[in-house]
């Protein structure tokens, strides 16, 4: 079990704010930190990895103290056994795919582990290639395999799929789930993609200005389906959206919304748009009765 209770002053584009959070992570759990960029998600991850120093507080993992401000303890990243997957993958350009994995082996570890990982991730064909010759998805797989090669007790993923196209993203998400279950790895992922968080994590922490404003199972936090807090939203389609434009059309209003990557235009009543303005985040709901489903190929 990992216990975190830290705070750190941060400077962001929006000004100064204090990152302050308290959290317990159960062994084998997959949790996500969700929030806008600049909310302090990556900083939390870097503090866990030992790449950044919190101002105060403690971080404990199992019986080990990783950080204790009062006792002046700071376990360096190299002793934490925390695998970190960087946004830019940080593969070593001078080594082959296999070389990257072998470099990550702990002293005394068997080389067979590399073979197993290469096979498991479908990297056998690529093992002699240098990272610069790989596609984004392949690099991502190598980065994941390399992190696992070092036998981490904790896996930290920093927006692992943000640089990938949709099809590759979906395939790799499945792979991450499979490996995470296979190794029973405690995993913390940073993401700002609802779909990804919903699909992968058991628990999601909503971060805003350095504070946890909500947490729980993704369905509860994002208030969808049967978990919805009130009757009004229960059993309906619910989409998080951003208001792009509000127009008057006689008695009703036409609101243009950004839902995911799609722009939709819906009719709203004057009551609904009363407190709305451009840039607001809204939930758009609709009755989930007899929708049309069409399968699309990925």
């Amino acid at each position: 079990m990992i216990e975190v209770d830290i705070s750190k002053n941060l400077n962001s584009a929006q000004g100064k704010f204090t990152l302050s959070l308290k959290l317990r992570i159960e062994p084998g759990e997959f949790i996500s930190l969700f929030g806008d960029s600049g909310a302090g998600k990556t900083t939390v991850l870097r503090c866990l990895a030992g790449l950044e120093l919190p101002d105060t507080g403690i971080i404990k993992s199992g019986g080990e103290t990783w950080f204790d401000h009062e006792k002046n303890i700071m376990l360096p990243a190299r002793n934490r056994h925390a695998g970190y997957m960087f946004q830019d993958f940080a593969l070593f350009p001078n080594m082959t795919v296999r070389g990257n994995l072998e470099f990550a082996l702990r002293p005394g570890a068997k080389k067979r582990r590399v073979d197993e990982l290469l096979e498991m991730m479908g990297l056998g064909e690529l093992q002699k290639r240098k990272p610069d010759t790989l596609s984004g998805g392949q690099k991502q797989r190598v980065a994941l395999a390399r992190a696992l090669s070092a036998e981490p007790k904790l896996l930290l993923l920093d927006e692992p799929f943000s640089a990938l196209d949709h099809a590759t993203r979906v395939r790799l998400q499945d792979e991450v789930v499979r490996l995470q279950r296979h190794f029973g790895l405690t995993t913390v992922m940073v993401s700002h993609d609802i779909g990804e968080v919903y699909k992968l994590s058991q628990r999601v922490l909503l971060l805003e200005n350095g504070r946890i404003i909500n947490q729980g199972a993704p369905a509860e936090v994002f208030k969808v389906g049967l978990h919805a807090a009130n009757k009004e939203t229960r059993g309906k389609f619910t989409f998080a959206a951003e208001v792009l434009e509000i127009e008057t059309a006689d008695v009703v209003f036409a609101v243009t919304l950004l839902v995911g990557n799609q722009i939709v235009r819906v009719i709203a009543t004057s009551e609904e748009v009363k407190n709305l303005q451009q840039g607001d985040r809204v939930m758009m709901m609709s009755k989930a009765f007899n929708p049309v489903l069409v399968k699309v190929g990925i």
Binding site: G50, A82, F92, D132, A150
Partner: protein, 224 residues
């Protein structure tokens, strides 16, 4: 007609020893410069770059004072290391190391700085020590910069004239390097010998620099 080859031999010996010493102290120094948060780093950077702009005679003058057995520096070298620095080959080596320092440090430092920080962080999270990260991740990934640094400092030492003149004088077999020999031969109107040294230096420097550019192109093509 046969020419005295000693000045040439001395020149390359000086350049080789200087470059070797520079690698040993310059590369770790460049690493420190690239990543330090030291408050007075700009001052250190300025000091390192001074030989690029100072007239060699200025540096040579102060080195001459420092090398004299009456100064602390010269006294220390002579009594504890048994090296006489003024008007000697060891003195030339020390001066060349100081004088060629920026030629090694600058390319290597910018090489380190151009590497993404995530590379060393990744090595760290994989449990690797600073030394392992330095030798296995950082150094192999700045090969073109290392090559540029080594060759530039070697070539620059071959070409050094002013400092050598100030602190080395013109002792055959000890401090009379090729650049000095040319000056010497011209002064005694022996143009043929001067031409010989000049042509050799020209050819050697040309070949060295050409090799660097060719190698670097190959290295870059490998990466691309």
């Amino acid at each position: 007609m046969s020419y005295d080859l000693q000045p040439l031999f001395l020149t390359f010996k000086l350049a080789a020893i200087t470059t070797l010493i520079l690698c040993v102290i310059g590369i770790p120094f460049a690493y420190w410069m690239a990543f330090t948060k030291f408050r007075f780093k700009p001052v250190v950077e300025t000091l390192v770059s001074m030989p690029l702009v100072l007239p060699p005679s200025v540096l040579g003058f102060y080195l001459l004072l420092a090398f004299s057995p009456q100064s602390f520096f010269g006294f220390f070298f002579e009594n504890f290391l048994g090296l006489k620095l003024s008007f000697s080959f060891s003195g030339l080596v020390v001066a060349s190391v100081i004088f060629s320092f920026p030629f090694l440090v600058h390319p290597v430092q910018s090489g380190f700085q151009s590497l993404p920080r995530s590379l060393s962080e990744a090595a760290c999270t994989l449990g690797k020590s600073r030394w392992q990260t330095f030798t296995q991740v950082l150094l192999p990934n700045i090969k073109p910069s290392l090559l540029a640094g080594v060759v530039l400092s070697f070539a620059h030492t071959i070409g050094e004239f002013g400092v050598v003149m100030m602190i080395g004088g013109n002792l055959p077999g000890e401090t009379k390097v090729a650049a000095i020999a040319i000056y010497d031969e011209v002064e005694s109107l022996n143009y043929a010998a001067a031409n010989f040294y000049a042509v050799v230096l020209f050819a050697v420097c040309f070949v060295i620099l050409l090799t660097v550019y060719l190698l670097n192109r190959k290295l870059f093509m490998k990466i691309a």
